[in-house]
Subunit: 372 residues, 2 copies
């Protein structure tokens, strides 16, 4: 709760593009000083560039956590310094920066670099696709990560899942959405495949880094935006810009954040350090989801009760139509090239299986516990 | 898939109590040999005792994985040797063995030692309680693990979540369950709080280690059993004992497996090795859930299509009644002593919040993607 209190104290006016969150600073210096036995010549000094404002709650602090745990587990043999977006490179240049070795490591999400190959968006999230738990099953035990590694190797990168938001909120709209027609003409920040679906529904999708959203709403450059969920959306203070309707999500059901590591830098590590980096990424992949899961509801209550945000749900008919468009978008992407075909083939088989299983397990259970 | 194929080849007759699964052997020796620079006097040689048959799919192999990752990340400075149930101590004596230092580490689940304090069952799972994702939120970011650590410190143990099964199946029954009356008189293996609920519904709960279930069904000592889910249940071959009805679950919605570490052994570790042990546990906590998520459906399809297992669902009225009894059982446990009060208070506040959040996120999404 401390972080949110902090954010509140800054006041939303301070949360402009590239804003620096200073709560939750890295403790890596402390960890390093405890391991004075480490010889300087054996230390790997790494820079981690990120797509988040420095120390942004959960997204940025999870990147800090990843850096700290690598430093601690390695006894200071790897020291990772984290940079917020724009500190070294702009958010959407993180991929290239790590690819060419300007930084050894990066933290972001695959759909931010869809310009490289649209198919890599499958490694972030797919509208009406997989939940966080399902994504992790696919990536770690369904063949997903293996393909991802092969695709990113072409860019001199080692990828690792390193965070998940869970089901994201559908976003903030300056009017109620009662039919698909209500989306027409809206200018909305919505990245990835969700953005393409929104476009075909008649809207104008825009992709902006999180740090630029508040200003874009304030200046009227956007009519609507999605970001993550209540905890992060409250931190950015979107509710202060105008009267908004806030909707549950469909477009990002379990967005995977990624760590990317420059392949040359990774290959320089000894086997134990490689295992440390991989395991730290797996750890933070779970930890971020756990933090969102624990914090979102209190933030939602604050938004609704204190700030009088209007919580709405999309009518079933709107959801059905968005899902049909999503199916089209995904099917078209799936045949674009050999990489897309390969990823989609793995994803599709897995999705059918896990959906069937979760119908009688996770979903059936959540239904049972709420039976009136 | 290899492991299941292996299990099939053994044939179910071989899967008696204490059966040794030999697939997926530990690779720790290999990891150690690569780090010949580690001085022998600096090596922590640990034994990990477990409640599972040696190398049992997912449960046992995750314990192996935990041991391997600790060994690899530490460059062989910690070497963990895994023992199946009965190899060093029987399954339900793991807690005491690690507490007194017979082994440095253990792998099981808190409800197996409810005799110590019934309230520790909250750290496994609660009927109609939290899903895996929700449990992780409570433990890591909702205060749950902090309390757990304090409670286990009294037994000279450091606990860590180290695996989750996701929603477990409700079990195998030798007749259809159409009303609560159909549970009356049934002798069923069902551990933890679910067992107490089952008892109040008129059944006779029995707690047996997994390795003894097949024989108990075969000899007629049990009328029904639950174990984990399709992947594990298929491995044990319950479908071969008799014609069974197989039901989705309510009693173990996200069972947390635990690693326990002898506190004296833990305190001997340097800071980097402590961080390595903690992080490895977090990693395997996620990894086990991912493996179950990826594998359960194929096993379910095999059970239903090949082995003609009859998949049924409990009528809503049965679920409602079981939930009411569960609420009673949990409420009574919650006031038993100061420890129970403290755990329950944390659990209850968290559960209300996370349930509210997941109604509009995880659950609403799973509903939306399945809309006809």
């Amino acid at each position: 709760m401390k972080r949110r209190d902090f954010v509140k104290k800054i006041g939303v006016g301070g949360l402009v593009a590239g804003a620096v969150f200073t709560a939750g600073c890295s403790k890596q210096d402390e960890a390093v000083s405890k391991n004075t036995a480490v010889k300087k010549e054996n230390v790997h000094k790494w820079k981690m560039v990120t797509t988040w404002p420095k120390n942004f709650p959960v997204l940025g602090t999870s990147a800090n956590n990843l850096a700290e745990v690598i430093t601690k587990m390695s006894g200071g043999r790897i020291q990772v310094k984290v940079y917020g977006s724009k500190e070294l490179v702009p958010a959407f240049e993180v991929f290239d920066a790590v690819s060419r070795g300007t930084a050894e490591m990066g933290h972001g999400s695959a759909y931010y670099w869809k310009g490289k190959n649209e198919a890599i968006q499958f490694f972030s999230t797919v509208p009406f696709g997989l939940t966080a738990q399902e994504m992790n099953g696919w990536l770690y035990h369904g063949g997903g990560l293996k393909i991802w590694e092969e695709v990113y190797a072409q860019y001199n990168l080692v990828p690792a899942p390193a965070g998940n938001t869970g089901v994201q909120m559908g976003g903030w709209f300056n009017k109620e959405i009662n039919s698909l027609d209500d989306l027409k003409g809206l200018k909305m920040r919505i990245p990835g495949l969700g953005g393409e679906v929104f476009k075909r529904a008649g809207g104008t999708p825009v992709n902006l880094p999180g740090g630029e959203l508040y200003t874009a709403l304030q200046t009227g450059a956007l009519d609507a935006t999605e970001w993550v969920g209540p905890y992060n959306d409250l931190a950015f203070g979107f509710h202060k810009v105008a009267k908004y309707y806030y909707y549950p999500g469909w477009h990002e059901p379990g967005t995977t954040l990624e760590a990317i590591i420059n392949k040359d830098a990774f290959e320089l590590l000894s086997d134990d350090l490689k295992e440390i980096v991989r395991t730290a990424c797996k750890m933070v992949n779970q930890d971020m989801l756990s933090e969102y899961t624990a914090r979102n509801n209190a933030a939602l209550v604050t938004l609704v009760n204190e700030h009088k945000v209007q919580l709405r749900v999309f009518p079933d008919d709107v959801l059905r139509k968005l899902r049909n468009i999503s199916d089209e978008v995904v099917a078209e992407l799936a045949v674009k090239d050999a990489t897309a075909k390969r990823i989609y083939s793995s994803f599709k088989i897995y999705r059918e299986q896990v959906n069937a299983w979760h119908e009688i397990s996770e979903k059936a259970f959540m239904r049972a516990r709420a039976l009136k």
